[in-house]
């Protein structure tokens, strides 16, 4: 079972964990992305996320399905937020439940790493003295 969502409201971390609770689970691995207060020494004021929503959901669902296929995991929740986020807020939560922890760790890492590679979501870092799209230029 997978639950993939793109939301413009604050993510509910506990709800994501509850979403993967399952009697057969021996463990739940959770990744929570948070907005960091600095990048390469510059103070970050906020991040602005935007998405190509239909394609982002399609890719996020595909990644969750790939993880289910590659590892013996039973439940996955993948929620990503878009819009303006302040320092300390949460843009992404991934929860994975499996009978044994190794699969949960591996699948969770695969999901966040692959999301960063191919899901059409973009973030602009707004600094006290300017702004730039992350990873846009070599």
């Amino acid at each position: 079972m997978t639950d993939v969502q793109l939301l413009d409201t604050p993510l509910d971390i506990q709800a994501c964990i509850n979403g993967v609770l399952w009697p057969g689970a021996g463990g739940i691995d959770v990744f929570i992305g948070t907005v960091r207060n600095q990048t390469k020494g510059r103070d970050v004021v906020r991040l602005e996320f935007e998405a190509y929503a239909s394609m982002a959901l399609r890719e996020m669902n595909a990644i969750a399905a790939e993880a289910m296929e590659r590892w013996p995991v039973q439940r996955i929740v993948l929620h990503h937020r878009i819009g303006v986020l302040e320092v300390g807020e949460v843009p992404v939560v991934i929860a994975v439940a499996a009978a044994h922890r190794a699969a949960a760790f591996d699948a969770c890492r695969y999901i966040i790493d692959t999301l960063k590679e191919r899901v059409p979501i973009w973030k602009k870092e707004v600094f006290s003295d300017g702004a730039s799209w992350v990873a846009a230029h070599p």
Partner: protein, 80 residues
């Protein structure tokens, strides 16, 4: 034929809007469209990468443009 192209992130800022319409040859490919766009908006060439999606799937340069499809400019992604 006329195609509609969605633009996101830095590509949206470079082309000056979240979508644009363009006239392309009937046998145009994704690669040809990209070349025309880069000609018109040279700042697109400075990006670390620029992919094009057709109907919400990553497309290859050789893919033909399908009439009425939804095209999108995908600059380097940075979710998470």
């Amino acid at each position: 034929m006329t195609v509609n192209i969605l633009a996101f992130g830095i590509a949206r800022e470079i082309v000056g809007g979240s979508s644009l319409r363009m006239e392309v040859g009937d046998a145009a490919t994704v690669g040809a469209l990209k070349a025309v766009l880069e000609e018109r908006y040279p700042a697109l060439r400075e990006l670390a990468s620029l992919l094009i999606a057709q109907d919400a799937e990553f497309a290859s340069p050789a893919d033909p443009l399908r009439p009425g499809s939804e095209l999108a400019l995908i600059p380097p992604v940075s979710g998470g």
